[in-house]
Amino acid sequence: MSHVTSAVRTPLVTGGKTYADVTEDISRQVEGSPTREWTIAFTISVIVLLYGTACVFWTWWEGLGVWGLNKTVGWAWDITNFVWWVGIGHAGTLISAILLLFRQKWRTAVNRAAEAMTIFAVLCAASFILMHMGRPWLAYWALPLPNTFGSLWVNFKSPLVWDVFAISTYFTVSLVFWYMGLLPDLATIRDRARSKVSRYIYGAFSLGWNGSAKTWARYEYMSLILAGLSTPLVLSVHTIVSMDFATSVIPGWHTTIFPPYFVAGAIFSGFAMVQNLMLIIRVVFKLEDYITVEHIESMNKVITLTGSIVGVAYLTEFFIAWYSGVEFESYAFINRATGPYWWAYAAMMTCNVISPQLFWSRTIRRSIVWTFVLSVIVNIGMWFERFVIIVTSLHRDYLPSSWAMFHPTLFDISDYIFSFGLFFTLFLLFAKFLPVVNMAEVKAIIKSSSEKLPVSVSGVAKGERVTNPTFNKDAE
């Protein structure tokens, strides 16, 4: 609109879409009956979720002894999965908040789904916190409630308590940000609804939105402040998660590099997950004109940047372990690379350091198949990163007589599978019942960033009452 976009910029919306096309293309999957692909995917997810739920209940019923934990390795897959899922969530907030502050228009096509991913990923992460407590009915002990069981309050000096505050604030603010972004689009669906039931449901959730100029002005103001709040918030969350480790005295954890290194890794893995979800969504929902190769390339650039930061962090850690002269620290790192868990370290190094560097090639960066495969590899690598940090640092501690190995049991694996069931069930419900692309935001950028066709975006043929038929203002 009022923004001037260079003529050499490649369009963000292709196919000469009008405002009405945007509404139609994106509302279609919400209004139609579920497709076969969706039904099959949803059924599988629910089955996985049910199996996982049964296993989680068994874990709680029997106790954490069903996991492979031992006296030496007290954190393993539980916290690995927790950190992995929280990290994945970071991409959504980065896209919705940081890229809003940087005025990156390409975020409009992916922010809705990425934020949904954030919310579901944080839920999955929280489920591991509940699981690793062993007695989830006592989870409220982590809150600063008047303690009637003893005389103490929670220890506010503990990073674990900071984490409770960080994760719950992050979840709440992300949910609110996402829901506020949904209001205009829910109103669009409400006004198009044919059946009474959907008009009622979408009407209730759209909170009576009417799109008046005054509401929009306040709305934009609020979005800006929410983005300003979410930006430091998202950086704080993984910083605090990293402090769960960094404030301890375990060699391999006790490093000041952890906060920036964790945040970069989080964004790295999050974008890889966004790529995987988006590449599927754009094909299944026929949204190739909205989520274009440009979008995929932009996200791959973020993956390359954050992947490189992670790579530098790995090398720095190794260097400092030697340079510090602390023999425990040096041993922890030599043991990581050459000890019994060398394969996990090798997997981490290959997946996270080498694979994102392939994106320096434009052909690979713009290839859908390469992007999908490399994104899966990045997420595998980031899981191994957390496994390496947690298990290899713990399994050989100060006392060689207590050295041990960690062997995952069926329940370690099944409880991880549970989180996939939960994530995909929620994500598929979102994809079916809510618009996966932010219609209002795409409409707002379409004039400046759309493929130039000789029909105006309002759908009126050239020359009829429209002052600006090519909608390329700067060219005039």
Binding site: W162, V176, N210, S212, G459
Partner: protein, 177 residues
């Protein structure tokens, strides 16, 4: 939303393009018509200024909510850790503001975000049971509607309709609430 007064009769000009409606606001105002409000499917920058809406004060509300979050966190940690049951952990003072920075930051953000969004919802009269006054259902899709409250204008219906048409309205409808 109780923004309807008088007989509740409105003339609604429907526009096809955001740039046209933005220009039309000035033209219609210049012609001496009082505009009730403009309804659009997406935000149009400058429209609120053209309509003469005052600048939003949400920022002030957000700041005050943020302050309340900060002070809550300060009081909470001070009371629990230093006053009610002083604890020395890790050799740190029972009140050490540095270790409470994460808590203070998180509560500031939480109070600010929830308070501001709550203010937004209340100030716009939004809510799950609110039935919106829709001047035209297409304004959440691809049309832009300018509503003129006839009870607040001295001009006749024909004159207003002519002014709206001249400003670029594709159609002019009558809406009674």
């Amino acid at each position: 939303m109780s923004d309807v007064t008088g007989n509740g009769k409105f003339l609604v000009g429907i526009y096809d393009d955001d740039d046209v409606v933005l220009k039309a606001v000035r033209d219609v105002k210049d012609a001496g018509v009082r505009i009730h409000e403009v309804y659009t499917p997406f935000p149009i920058h400058g429209l609120d200024i053209a309509l003469g809406h005052p600048r939003s004060r949400l920022g002030i509300a957000a700041f005050l909510f943020a302050l309340s979050g900060t002070s809550t966190a300060l009081l909470l940690t001070a009371y629990m850790e230093s006053f009610d049951w002083p604890m020395i952990v890790g050799g740190k003072d029972s009140y050490s503001i540095i270790v409470y920075v994460p808590i203070i930051f998180e509560l500031t953000v939480l109070f600010c975000a929830l308070g501001m969004v709550g203010t937004f919802i209340v100030s716009n009269g939004l809510g799950p049971t609110v039935k919106p006054l829709m001047y035209d259902l297409r304004t959440t899709d691809n049309k832009f509607a300018m509503a003129i409250d006839m009870s607040k204008n001295n001009l006749g219906e024909g004159d207003v309709e002519r002014i709206l048409k001249n400003s670029g309205a594709a159609e002019v409808n009558v809406k009674q609430f």
